[in-house]
Symmetry: C2
Subunit: 214 residues, 2 copies
């Protein structure tokens, strides 16, 4: 019993340290950029030794991939569940509007925009960072949308030839304008209420006009 208790105490301590390292690392990466960040600085901010950092994460790239994975999954997981439910929707336009608003609000969170910018800036030198972001983020959402749209076409609700292209159209009709403005203009702010609905509802309206089965 004593051994088990102390094992689980060790585990809890290890989990706490891991969490502290990830939080510290996210702060330092976003402040100094990927190349400007050292494991020393992360260890100092997390209040652990450099050895402890390396015990949890093999190198800087693994640590950053972990941060990207966590941040993207946090947005992507709930969206994914909602997309899967679309296939059986009784009111596709209304459900797409709900989805679009929630997706846009999630994607436009300042920390995620900053991370996206950092990943893009390093995508040539560290392709794994960008691949992780793409595959777990837009890539995953678009693939799930494609499945749902295929099903909706089989049900006669939508009319389309290429479910993947339709899914990409939906995704980017909603998100491109605000994301590209944010990326290039360096404005990492959540959208103002009215803007969010304008982008989301306007994108859904265009999508339904293009793909509704007449």
């Amino acid at each position: 019993m004593t051994n088990l208790a102390s094992d689980s105490e060790d585990e809890r301590r290890s989990t706490r340290k891991r969490r502290a390292i990830l939080d510290a690392a996210a702060t330092v990466f976003l402040r100094n950029g990927y190349r400007g960040t050292s494991m020393d600085e992360i260890a100092a901010l997390a209040g652990v030794s450099k050895q402890t950092v390396y015990k949890h994460f093999a190198d800087k790239e693994r640590l950053f991939v972990e941060i990207v994975t966590g941040a993207v999954d946090e947005v992507s997981d709930p969206v994914h569940a909602e997309v899967l439910a679309l296939a059986d929707s009784g009111d596709v336009e209304a459900d797409l509007r709900d989805l679009a608003r929630r997706q846009l609000a999630a994607v436009m969170q300042p920390r995620l925009l900053q991370l996206r910018r950092l990943v893009i800036g390093e995508a040539n030198r560290f392709p794994e960072l960008g691949r992780t972001f793409y595959e777990r983020g837009p890539g995953r959402t678009i693939a799930a949308l494609a499945d749902a749209f295929k099903r909706l076409a089989e049900r006669g609700v939508l009319q389309l030839e290429d479910p993947s292209l339709a899914a990409a159209h939906f995704n980017w009709l909603i998100m491109s304008a605000p994301i590209n403005r944010a990326m290039l203009l360096g404005r990492d702010e959540p959208l103002a209420g009215g803007d969010l609905e304008q982008y989301a509802d306007g994108g859904v309206r265009a999508f339904m006009a293009a793909y509704r089965n007449p």
Copy 2:
């Protein structure tokens, strides 16, 4: 006469040097990133003195803004002329398809993708770089498209309430999927022939289905 001739000789030399500095700077910026680039290195590669670099460009940011301006205008100028002509088009769908293909090919040039990535990576710290890229690139094209679409709606060819939103939809229906893949995946390659037409024609098809006056 002698003075005039030597003035113009000086001018030609100055123009040549300016050109050499811009070419060298573009090479060094793309290789080392914005912060990793020094005026010394640019001067050395251009084969001029550092004083000469500063005679032409007040500082590193001005020099980079000049490079972005040149590269974006080279793509944006011909697109702009073509967009203005759309308002009087006799076959809007065919003309949009031509425009979309040319625009996509131009935007997906490796050097411009690299520059876009560099600008995004620095947009927080050096917002003027991103603003220049946005305003002379997508911002300008979308504004011109909005004017053309407004005119086409007045002519009864298109049906829309918000010309700016329709213009953003057109722009991003064509370009978002390939640009976002390239940005995140770090693949700075021109699109393969079939892909280019699929994105361009598919985007135009969706746009016309959404905005054609029935």
